[in-house]
């Protein structure tokens, strides 16, 4: 590195950036063109968002249930959003209790303990539900975050729970976005296949 001019370094940097950008675009294209099951394996190994359980769902889809995967995922989204909303409400309620009781310490200590215990237990129940359904659809990263969140709730760590909830919501949104993209690509692929086999075009 010693003795190399700034211009040469800049040129090398630009070449490296171009190479990385090209690789990124190539990867995106390959992911779009590859066979669906291969694509998911590639994606999973690169990003770990889904696991082979999602392929199990795809294998259950056939002529008698052509929309099975999208139906299951729609129900998953609907139920997950309810659970996340409930968890957020419980955490807000816990925060209020902590703030309120801080001002009325002696009188409400036992009430606070009971209420906190109940609310953390409810958070645990909601997380178990979300973990179960996430496992069933192959949402590996969401499930992993739920495990960490559950540990925080078992330790009654409000700040740990809040951090976990933020990570969980982020992972869930990311998963939802990626699945929507996948369904759109599948739809386009099916439409393109249909157009290729159209009697007027063959």
């Amino acid at each position: 590195m010693l003795g190399l001019g700034a211009a040469r370094l800049e040129a090398d940097m630009n070449r490296l950036m171009a190479l990385l950008f090209h690789q990124f675009i190539w990867k995106e294209k390959m992911e779009k063109l590859a066979h669906p099951s291969t694509r998911w394996l590639m994606w999973d190994s690169a990003q770990g968002v889904l696991d082979e359980q999602f392929m199990q769902l795809q294998q259950l889809q056939d002529e008698s249930s052509p929309n099975f995967v999208s139906e299951v995922i729609s129900i998953y989204f609907r139920e997950s959003e309810k659970l996340l909303k409930n968890v957020r409400s419980l955490l807000s309620a816990l925060h209020l209790i902590r703030t309120f009781v801080a001002n009325w310490r002696v009188m409400f200590l036992s009430h606070r303990a009971d209420r906190e215990c109940t609310d953390y237990r409810k958070i645990g129940i909601h997380l178990n539900q979300l973990m179960g359904s996430s496992s069933s659809v192959g949402a590996k990263r969401v499930r992993t975050v739920c495990l960490a969140f559950r540990a925080a709730s078992e330790h009654r760590s409000w700040s740990g729970c809040l951090r976990s909830l933020e990570v969980l919501e982020h992972e869930y949104c990311y998963l939802k976005t990626k699945l929507h993209e996948l369904f759109q690509m599948e739809q386009q692929r099916v439409m393109a296949a249909g157009a290729r086999h159209h009697p007027l075009l063959s």
Binding site: M55, Q56, Q59, L60, F68, I75, E79, G132, S135, S136
Partner: protein, 139 residues
């Protein structure tokens, strides 16, 4: 390489289901119920579902019978342990398989003592289901 479809594996003569098997899926999670019901229907098993232990017991009180029950552990109203105990007290002889996402050893022991025949971790896979049904089909 794609994995073989469940129905292709189950349609072979090695499995030899004499009559159509009947299964009851008991789980409060609608996503899990849908997945397990589809898995069972894919291999031509007649399937009913119940959203908790109380609904499962009601199915039997209405005179329905099943060859296999897939019983979740943690459910509102009546959990899997309570439901299993009641079903065994009612004289239900069906194979009951406890299904859970997570359990301590103590909870597993309690579930087994309630009367389940087997214990699986969610999500159940095709090979696991085939093994379960093979056992039920040959009993």
């Amino acid at each position: 390489m794609d994995s073989p479809k469940l129905k292709d594996l189950a349609s072979g003569s090695d499995f030899g289901f004499r009559n159509k098997l009947r299964a009851l899926v008991v789980d409060d999670n609608s996503v899990i119920r849908l997945y397990m019901v589809s898995l069972l229907k894919d291999v031509d098993v007649e399937t009913d579902e119940a959203e908790d232990g109380k609904a499962a017991v009601t199915h039997f009180l209405e005179g329905k019978t099943y060859d296999i029950i897939l019983m979740d552990k943690d459910m509102p109203q009546m959990n899997g342990i309570q439901a299993t105990r009641i079903l065994r007290e009612m004289g239900v002889k069906a194979k009951i398989v406890g299904v859970t996402a997570h359990s301590t050893d103590e909870e597993k022991r309690e579930f087994l003592e309630a009367g389940i025949d087997d214990f699986l971790v969610k999500p159940i896979t095709s090979p696991q289901l085939i093994e379960l049904l093979k056992d039920v089909g040959t009993e």
